[in-house]
Amino acid sequence: MRSPAPNSQVGERNTAFAASGRRRTAFDRSRDWEGGKAKTVTMILTENCQLRCRYCYLVGKNSHHRMSFDVARRTVDYLLRERELFKDRSLIWDFMGGEPFLEIDLIDRISDYFKRQAYETGHWWFDSYRFSFATNGILYDEPRVQRYLEKNFRHVSVGITIDGTPGKHNLQRVYPDGRGSYDDVVRNIPLWLRQFPEASTKVTISRADLPHVKDSIVHLWELGIKNIHANVVFENAWDADSDKILEDQLLALADHIVDYETYMEHSCSFFARHIGRPNPENRNWCGAGKMLAVDHAGVFYPCVRFAAFSLQNRPPLKIGDCVAGIDANLLRPFLALDLVSQSPPECIECDIAAGCAWCQGANYDFADTATIYQRATYICRLHKARVRANRYFWDRLDRKLAAPEERQRPSTP
């Protein structure tokens, strides 16, 4: 973000030269605001949405479960009041649904209320907060949405979910009558990218999407979206050949990146240097418990994945509400969880474990007992496929960047 001022300008630039002298690529840059350490509060404003995406965990969409301003106000007040409990330096309000922009007036009201209360109470979050949105993009150009974005421009982050090629996108992201939503989303992409040039999108991949991974990511880059966060679903959604298909797709993507030299400006989270090493430490990489999710009724969850609509097999796992606050004891398992306490021996001893993610919500939903401490490992083979593809990619990229002609290229900040 930039703030124009005479003779001085402050901006968040993210290109530079690596200390080794090798040019930093888009894959080298860190994008998490505040190093990923901000407190994230997910406000589940509505269970309504224009779409009926086939992989969406929110089944049973409806228009009557909507958060009231009173619930939102109580939540804001609670968070600002409990300074001993919430000591994080920064705060991210993560508005979601359903489709959050269906509730833009409520969002506007909540945002104004928070800003004012944080200022008047002298809370440190006034100096470090963000409003974040995960939207299907259909309402992005709507005047009220645009007015809100302009009003809070230096504090908003908007991610539009577009799954890739029209074919892949329309496989899953459909209207209730089965029509694909690609056209209604893609028309807003240019406006979005003009306003947020460094914006990223999140691509969720399940079994049916696998054959389209490479083309979809390339397509998104061609639309101008430079940074793609892609992940496979944690559910048991895979066939015997899923890992092979994923690996082939990632190898093809690797060749495209190196051959067409897209690596300076474009990145995809499938490829990262740390992938495939042993786990360096016994930590928890899932933010459940550190973040907070609030549903329309003001009930608190450790993550949206523990709300009723997100679960297939288990009842919701509540940890409090906006009136009584958080039950500290119900939060303890999430704060204590680490790699060793939840993983089977083969995961703990795995030589290529780095980058193999887990989801405590999936753990809970698919475990033999009602516990978050039994890791759901359905993605194991896909992680191994990703590791193999990563080794191929980094080998090709490093050879390319080490080539004499590459060294002589001028720097491009």
Binding site: K87, R332, P333, L335
Partner: protein, 382 residues
């Protein structure tokens, strides 16, 4: 809740299983002897474990070389039951009402029992379990002190721990502090009872926990098996099997120390790591509540003080463990990445009162300042 898993007859033989004991509730109204509550009615023929089943349980225990602990209700067992029980080595756990009849039993006392005149007589040279209500903690020391020279061992079980607030925890700490001197004096005199919350930590170099589901199982009167008696009185789907068909404990690894991230590196070795309380307060078998952790740390800190008190009295403490000083009361806050955990700070030691000299100097200093000010004003006027 998840339906009970299918029982496995070969579970008793599983490699790595370390079952040593079988707790047998002889009656649905058997006395509660730990953190759980059994609000059942008085024992009846219908609530009692049938003789045939009792016989099978004893045979099973003998076959599997399990030590038996029979938990009794408020009424004596029928003679036939007593004969059956006597066929195997065992321990009885009984309420105060049965103390005279079963002279070798571990006696369970509620807080109200402690004040009864006959309780101390029955407690002489015996192992006691004392269950204290939250409302009794404020005078726990007064209730327990008379038993320090009577009983052989006192296991204090504070009830409703998950409902303790910070003030309750602080009161608990004060009561532990109040017990240090009488316990030390009794030890120095050579006839002190072991007091779990104060003395156990001094003799432990590693974790010594309840072991529910690991070292022992519980058999209810209907033959269902549970991890611990506390689970017998809740959802029946908590059963892990039965004496006829065997058992299966899903996610059994969560009962062990390796899969308990808060406990794994903790040195409150005397803590019971009560899985019943864990499940009740945090919904996870491997995660204790902040109250359990903080109380256990107050206890270990009190053990340190007791050791110092014993040393001052000339007792040889060279063989006693020395819990090191710790900057926290809740071990969760010491885990990496646990910054979000609500913090419970150790209560600061009260500052010593100022000496007479210090008070006098303060007065003089104030007087000097006043005098100087007065002189200045006088000078200004002139």
């Amino acid at each position: 809740m998840t339906p009970s898993p299918p029982a496995r007859a070969d579970a008793w033989n599983r490699v790595g299983l370390d079952l040593q004991q079988l707790i047998v509730l002889t009656d649905a109204a058997a006395v509660s002897f730990c953190h759980y509550r059994n609000r059942g009615a008085r024992p009846t023929a219908a609530s009692r474990m049938p003789l045939r089943r009792l016989s099978r349980v004893v045979a099973l225990a003998n076959k599997r070389k399990l030590q038996l602990q029979f938990v009794l209700g408020a009424e004596p067992l029928p003679a036939a039951h007593e004969r059956q029980i006597d066929q195997a080595p065992h321990v009885k756990i009984a309420p105060l009402a049965l103390a005279r009849r079963y002279r070798d039993a571990v006696i369970v006392l509620d807080g109200n029992d402690l004040a009864r005149p006959d309780a101390i007589r029955q407690a002489r040279a015996r192992n006691l379990i004392v269950r204290l209500e939250k409302s009794q903690i404020s005078h726990a020391a007064d209730l327990l002190i008379p038993y320090l020279n009577a009983a052989r061992r006192i296991n204090v079980v504070p009830l409703d721990v998950e409902q303790y607030g910070h003030a309750d925890v602080e009161e608990y700490r004060r009561q532990l502090q109040a017990l240090e001197t009488p316990v030390a004096a009794a030890c120095a005199a050579g006839d002190a009872a072991e007091l779990n919350v104060l003395s156990d930590r001094l003799s432990l170099g590693r974790m010594n926990n309840c072991g529910a589901g690991v070292h022992h199982l519980t058999c209810a009167p209907d033959g269902q098996l549970y991890i611990c008696p506390g689970f017998c009185y809740g959802d029946k789907s908590a059963a892990v099997g039965n004496v006829e068909e065997g058992f299966e404990i899903r996610n059994a690894q969560l009962l062990g120390l390796d899969h308990a991230p808060i406990c794994r590196t903790c040195d409150a070795f005397h803590c019971k790591r009560c899985v019943y309380l864990n499940a009740k307060a945090t919904r996870e078998l491997n995660t204790p509540s902040w109250q359990q952790c903080v109380l256990a740390h107050h206890e270990r800190n009190a053990s340190r003080s007791l050791r110092d008190a014993l040393a001052r009295l000339g007792v040889d403490v060279s063989r006693l463990m020395t819990p090191p000083e710790l900057p926290y009361l809740d071990p969760l806050t010491a885990l990496p990445g646990a910054a979000a955990a609500p913090r419970v700070r150790a209560a600061a030691a009260p500052a010593p009162p100022p000496s007479d000299r210090e008070i006098l100097l303060k007065i003089l200093k104030v007087q000097e300042e006043i005098l100087a000010e007065l002189k200045k004003k006088k000078g200004d006027r002139s």
